[in-house]
């Protein structure tokens, strides 16, 4: 099956190896006889909510993020419609912040977001940098990655995090939450990139995208050996345990 992927702002938001995440989705789809059709959606382009099974938004430096923020607001309705329609969304780092309600900078100015995920972000003094390990009880799995953000992200009451922080800072360095998930939309600060060392999550996204494509149940994807993936996960998780960030 052909999975239609919309990659938002790839020329602006690409700082933490976002193309690694796309490469992993593409290969793992291909290894199961599917195909990823990736289309770039940039500043000024119209986003057609019904044209994609999966949307990806990566991370950018502050300068690039500010350049796309206005455009994200213009695409907000289409992004909301896509999430309502169970399109799969993965937003990492800056992209995660842009999908929230707003981002308040150090001067107190509020930059509106797409309001797709139930959260907001406030700029903080100290950057939260380091290896992270998450426990995703909803999936019975762990996620390992690297975070580097000054923004503190606060989830609305009742909102679901992507995972509980085992080691590292997470959304705000205090709540013990990391990321957010709503319907098929996932936001996280974890890069590294995220998917090569967490193949179960890549497959979870692919299964949901395939279900969206044909309107049926999530298919069971043929298992892969994932030997290197498991090693990379273990090293990354061990780094988080030994040197993950914490304020206290």
């Amino acid at each position: 099956m052909k999975i239609r992927v919309g990659h938002l702002y790839p020329e602006y938001l690409n700082i933490y190896a976002d193309r690694g995440n796309i490469a992993v989705l593409a290969r793992r789809a291909e290894w199961r006889g599917h195909e990823l059709d990736v289309e770039a959606i940039s500043v000024g382009d119209t986003l057609h909510a019904d044209a994609y099974d999966l949307l990806y938004v990566g991370g950018g430096q502050d300068r690039e993020q500010a350049l796309v923020a206005v455009d994200v607001a213009a695409k907000a309705d289409a992004l909301r419609a896509a999430v309502e329609d169970d399109v799969v969304v993965l937003a990492v780092c800056g992209g995660y912040q842009l999908l929230g309600r707003f981002y308040r900078d150090r001067q107190g100015h509020e930059l509106p977001g797409a309001d797709v995920l139930p959260l907001h972000t406030v700029a903080g003094e100290r950057r939260m940098i380091g290896d992270v390990l998450l426990d995703c009880a909803w999936a019975g799995r762990t996620l390992a990655g690297f975070e580097n953000h000054a923004g503190r992200t606060y989830l609305d009451a009742g909102a679901e995090p992507l995972g509980r922080v085992v080691d590292g800072f997470g959304n705000d360095g205090a709540s013990g939450f990391e990321g957010c998930r709503r319907a098929n939309a996932f936001g996280t600060y974890l890069h590294g990139p995220l998917l090569p060392r967490n193949p179960w999550f890549a497959d979870e996204l692919l299964a949901r995208a395939l279900a969206h494509r044909d309107g049926g149940e999530r298919p069971a994807l043929a298992p892969l050996a994932d030997v290197l993936e498991a090693q990379a996960h273990e090293v990354s998780a061990a780094r988080a345990r030994s040197r993950g960030g914490r304020f206290f």
Partner: protein
């Protein structure tokens, strides 16, 4: 206050101790001690240099550029030079301590440490080479480093010479408000067909519109112009034209300066080394070197340690190319591919602080042209598995990929595969130091602090 002489004696003793205890070359220990005892001592030591100091900073190429400048300047000055690559305040302090009787200080400086070092040393010349995304976990975003550089340039004494790479939009723009020597490349034959993935500063520094490039050479370095507000590459004072690249042995170009033109031949390959040579030539010129001295110095220059360095290991040649960020690694890959890469390559990815704890950058490197050409990859280092995944997801066949995290075993495997021929080694910083240490233990190469002597 402790007398300066006593501080110096104590700090020098610490260097000897560091070497004796095997903790390293003592290249930063004495400086760290001095820095703790009395930070102002560095200012006073720098002021003792009769010909003053010159600083070199850049994301990529600062060690090589400073080494090239040293080769040009050596006939004219006795140098205090941190040629082991220790480039924080403590490294500069150590070099100052170690060079009795020096006339000119020549220091490569970490991008993040530039403001502080410049404020203390008060250089008579400052060379700023390029800014790329690099170890974001350490330096933060590129714009933060650019801000610091702007502050360093503003604080620079009016009498000091500023030398900038005009091909880098952010760096070239530092020359907008004051007199500067601007250098760059003019040879569209060697331009890239399009901007690379790792290009960073591709939006106009004035208005944010994407630049149009008449020629893009390395990452975002090139001949750019903003179609909206007209901000463009400044006019060049020192230019490289008619480049001859190709091969892994050398490169050459015509160096055009206000004092005349000359043909330069380098014993290192690659377009990025042409940029390094341009920077070194412009800096030396600002310090009084003649065109003849520049050409002769550049011709004498041999690779800085770990930067396209060739090491003979019992008849097998190790070609060591340090990689540390996407832009630099892309150029290492491009040079290897254009020059005819050996069929086996050892890539070593460590994740210590000096390498960057965040290894995501390897996914932003265009390894593909190299992977298409080599027969076998040995992946090593603390993050060998991650590196192997990078190759696998690029489509490199698993049966031609060997994952050997332990560096010495990986080196031996590479040497075995290439016995009597040449092995390309692409290590990150701490992996490079460790591999050199192994080769030194075997007597193939001098330790880096012995070289500095």
């Amino acid at each position: 206050m402790i007398p300066l002489g006593l501080e110096i004696a104590a700090a020098r003793a610490a260097a000897g101790l560091s070497r004796l205890t095997g903790r390293g070359g003592g290249t930063t220990v004495p400086g760290k001690l001095l820095w703790k005892l009395d930070p102002g001592a560095i200012d006073r030591l720098a002021r003792r240099l009769p010909a003053g100091s010159a600083l070199v900073s850049a994301t990529n190429g600062k060690t090589t550029t400073a080494a090239m400048a040293a080769e040009i300047l050596r006939p004219r000055f006795r140098l205090a030079h941190n040629d082991s690559g220790a480039n924080l305040v403590s490294g500069v302090a150590s070099a100052l301590l170690a060079s009795q009787g020096a006339e000119l200080g020549l220091f490569e400086v970490d991008e993040g440490a530039l403001t502080e070092v410049a404020a203390r040393v008060r250089p008579r010349a400052l060379l700023l080479g390029n800014l790329f995304r690099d170890q974001l976990d350490r330096y933060g975003e590129l714009e933060l480093v650019a801000e610091r550089w702007r502050a360093a340039v503003e604080a620079l004494p009016a009498s000091s010479a500023l030398v900038v790479n005009g091909d880098d939009p952010v760096v070239g723009d530092l020359a907008r408000t004051r007199d500067a020597t601007v250098f760059g490349v003019d040879d569209p034959r060697h331009a890239r067909p399009s901007l690379q993935h790792a290009a960073d500063s591709k939006y106009c520094v004035v208005c944010g519109t994407p630049y149009e490039y008449a020629a893009a050479y390395v990452g975002h370095l090139g001949d750019y112009r903003c179609p909206s507000c007209g901000h463009a590459r400044p006019s060049l004072d020192v230019v490289a034209r008619d480049l001859e690249l190709g091969g892994l042995e050398q490169s050459s170009f015509t160096l055009a300066t206000p004092d005349g033109d000359a043909r330069v031949t380098l014993r290192v390959p690659g377009l990025y080394n042409v940029y390094n040579a341009l920077g070194a030539a412009s800096l030396a010129r600002a310090l009084g070197s003649t065109l003849d001295e520049i050409v002769a110095g550049l011709a004498r220059f041999n690779a800085a340690f770990g930067r396209f360095e060739r090491i003979d290991a019992d008849g097998t040649r190790v070609l060591m190319l340090l990689i540390k960020n996407p832009a630099g690694a892309n150029e290492a890959v491009r040079t290897l591919v254009d020059g005819g890469a050996p069929p086996v390559v050892l890539i070593a990815l460590n994740d210590e602080i000096a390498d960057g704890k965040d290894v995501s950058w390897v996914w932003d490197v265009d390894f593909e042209p190299l992977l298409e050409r080599v027969e076998r990859v040995v992946a090593s280092g603390t993050r060998a598995a991650e590196l192997a995944l990078r190759c696998t997801y690029a489509g490199f066949p698993a049966e031609r990929l060997e994952v050997v995290p332990q560096l010495e075993r990986a080196l031996d495997r590479g040497l075995e595969l290439r016995a009597g021929a040449e092995l390309a080694v692409l290590p990150t910083y701490t992996a490079m130091l460790a591999l050199r240490r192994i080769l030194a233990t075997r007597g193939h190469v001098a330790q880096y602090w012995e070289r500095a002597a």
